[in-house]
């Protein structure tokens, strides 16, 4: 039986993924050009507000096409895994978004205590007592340092201070 012939590419899927990245950048470059056209481009004698970003968009489009060509011509460098290996990454991003949303609505103390608690839990703290204690101590300590000692105006939100 003939031995299997090794393939140059590590897989069509990897090539598609690499090509998709280039396409995303190409779309970004098109958006930059269109946005730049919303303000006067000016002329070479008198460049306007859109002049520099428009040319940046053009350069990015050329680079994106080169990246696309490279991903089609060259073999992929290995498995390009975009999706997180650990669910903790997704939970942390979710808690980060929630914390930003709550930051001015609920205030620094509430938002950060919740964020620290959730972050500690998703990153592996087993004991609930440690989670609650760590979140409260961490939040209060940072409040004392940043708000009281350094005088940074942090939002109070639903708490009176």
């Amino acid at each position: 039986m003939m031995p299997p012939v090794p393939r140059m590419s590590l897989g069509a899927r990897e090539t598609i993924k690499a090509g998709s990245v280039a396409v995303v950048f190409f779309l970004l470059s098109a958006w930059i050009c269109l946005e730049a056209l919303q303000v006067p481009l000016g002329s070479f004698r008198m460049p306007g507000a859109g002049f520099f970003p428009f040319f940046l968009g053009l350069i990015l489009s050329v680079l994106s096409v080169m990246l696309l060509a490279q991903s089609l011509v060259s073999p992929a460098s290995g498995s390009m895994r975009v999706w997180p290996k650990q669910p903790a990454v997704l939970y942390l991003v979710g808690s980060l978004i929630a914390a930003v949303w709550l930051f001015e609505r609920a205030g620094f103390l509430v938002a950060m205590a919740l964020f620290l608690g959730v972050a500690m839990r998703v990153l592996g703290t087993k004991s609930w007592a440690t989670v609650v204690g760590g979140a409260l101590v961490g939040t209060l300590a940072s409040y004392v340092v940043f708000s009281r000692a350094l005088g940074i105006a942090l939002p109070s939100g639903i708490v009176p201070f």
Partner: protein, 516 residues
């Protein structure tokens, strides 16, 4: 004032109790940043930047610079004792440093790394002191075309000397330049990319993007890396190197200092590249190159000296030209701009206390690091035992407060979050995001220089080529790009001639040198 008198004046500034305290704080924080894997000097400077807002400008820059070169010291500790580089510039130190530690010679490895860093740091500060004023005088002759061409050259070198694909680095540079155009155009008053949002009128917050890319994204990436850490405890009684260790290390330290300083001036990942160049040189000069990687002290002395000397070199374009050459110095420049101090050719005359105070503080900081690092190595290494479920939320909390404190704006927090997720995704698909930061700082200057140059010449691009200095710099940038394209094509051709199995063994074309 000549240089020595100016230096004495600098010492009078940096030896005040307040500045001494901030210098000590900076180098200790830098060492901690260097020890902790995942957070490099750039992340450390960015995260701690908001804490300097209440300080005098000279104190702020003294502390931030302390973090910068302190991180180089700290990085060697984890490389030698844990085989995990605290930051990228200490990767090479793992090769021989960890082997020395396994052979019971962690003490001499740590000592030589610290002494080499001290000597290199001091020599590079000396070079900075002598070279920066000369370069500043030259920079006074620069008009908009020269400034534009210099920035183009700097960004091309940044991409060329980076650690990944050149094509991808160029794309990140364009993205960074694009981000810098958001907001009201100061020449015409038109709002760009703001979609009517008043919060974006002043542009995208540099700090929010930098914290997202180097605080949030680093943590998201670090969560996925579960390295097993076997910490080797050094015996403090056996810290001192032998006479033979010194004899073998002195040459590498001096050579590493020179290499690091010169490469540090150039844009790009100077710290990382200088360590590789130094290691390669020591291996080549050694009579026993085959022993490198098995615990040769030259493999520690050279690279550790080089990465420290690079910090002094990197300060030159930033202080003398007002054009930072690395993301870390770009962040320091933003710190100075926030304090109303504009780095550049006239900094020495207008704010001598900042320029000479910083240089003098670097001498003092290097002595502090030497005194602190060896006796406290056991303490610093214990930082690795802080569980990530306490460390990472704490760092993110500091990012939150730091970003919010600048403009008291939740929009900046959203930008930080978006930059964090984007930075994470970009890193996953093989993009180094550091060029974005440098390009964001250079963007406004570059656009202004381009537009002024074109207005000066009534729309003739020839002005950038008709002025000798500008032409040389643009020519060098084009030459670098052409060289890269040619070498990529040659590699591609060579690969096509290979058998499939050989090509697979050889590895991808996307990596450095072949990336576009």
């Amino acid at each position: 004032m000549d240089a020595w008198q100016s230096l004495l004046y600098g010492f009078s500034v940096s030896l005040t109790p307040t500045n001494l305290l901030y210098c000590a704080l900076g180098v200790v924080l830098g060492t901690i940043v260097g020890v902790l894997p995942g957070i490099g000097p750039l992340g450390g400077i960015t995260i701690l930047l908001p804490t300097t807002f209440g300080m005098e400008p000279v104190s702020a820059i003294i502390m931030l610079a302390g973090i910068y070169y302190g991180a180089m010291y700290g990085g060697s500790t984890t490389s030698i004792l844990v085989n995990i580089p605290g930051e990228a510039a200490s990767v090479v130190t793992c090769l021989d440093g960890y082997q020395m530690a396994r052979q019971g010679r962690a003490g001499p490895a740590l000592s030589i790394a610290a002494m080499g860093s001290y000597i290199a740091g001091t020599l590079s500060v000396l070079g900075l002191m002598l070279l920066a004023p000369l370069l500043a005088r030259l920079a006074l002759k620069f008009g908009p075309p020269e400034q534009f061409s210099l920035m183009v050259l700097g960004l091309v070198i940044l991409a060329y000397m980076g650690t990944g694909s050149v094509l991808k680095a160029l794309m990140m540079i364009v993205v960074g330049l694009g981000l810098a155009t958001v907001g009201i155009d100061h020449l015409s008053g038109f709002a760009r990319f703001t979609h009517g949002r008043a919060e974006l009128g002043d542009g995208v917050s540099f700090l929010a993007v930098a914290m997202g890319l180097f605080g949030v994204a680093e943590i998201l990436i670090s969560i996925e890396q579960t390295a097993v850490r076997e910490v080797i405890k050094p015996k403090l009684s056996a810290l001192l190197p032998t006479r033979e260790d010194w004899r073998r290390s002195l040459g590498p330290i001096i050579r590493g200092s020179g290499i690091g300083f010169l490469i540090g001036i150039l844009p790009g990942a100077a710290h990382v590249i200088s360590t590789f160049v130094s290691y390669a040189m020591e291996k080549r000069l050694s009579g026993r190159p085959e022993e490198f990687g098995t615990g040769r002290i030259e493999g520690v002395a050279g690279p550790e000296s080089a990465n420290n000397a690079a910090t002094g070199g990197a300060m030159i374009p930033f202080l003398a030209l007002g054009i930072p050459s690395s993301p870390a110095t770009a962040t320091m420049m933003v710190a100075l701009l926030i304090h109303g101090v504009k780095p550049g050719p006239v900094l020495m005359e207008q704010r001598p206390e900042v320029f000479w105070g910083l240089i003098a503080s670097m001498y003092i900081g290097n002595v502090m690091l030497l005194i602190l690092n060896l006796p406290l190595v056991g303490l610093f290494i214990n930082l690795l035992r802080v569980p990530q479920h306490f460390l990472f939320p704490g760092i993110l909390l500091v990012c939150f407060v730091g970003v919010y404190s600048v403009n008291l704006s939740v929009t900046d927090l959203w930008i930080m979050g978006i930059a964090g997720v984007a930075g994470y995704l970009l890193r996953k698909v093989g993009f180094d995001t550091a060029p974005i930061v440098l390009a964001m700082v250079l963007g406004p200057m570059m656009e202004q220089a381009l537009r002024q140059g074109l207005m000066m010449s009534r729309g003739e691009f020839g002005i950038f080529l008709s002025r000798p200095l500008s032409a040389v710099m643009l020519g060098a940038a084009v030459l670098l790009l052409v060289l890269h394209v040619v070498s990529s094509l040659r590699r591609a051709q060579a690969r096509r001639g290979m058998k499939p199995a050989d090509a697979l063994r050889e590895g991808p074309l996307v990596a450095k040198g072949g990336g576009g």
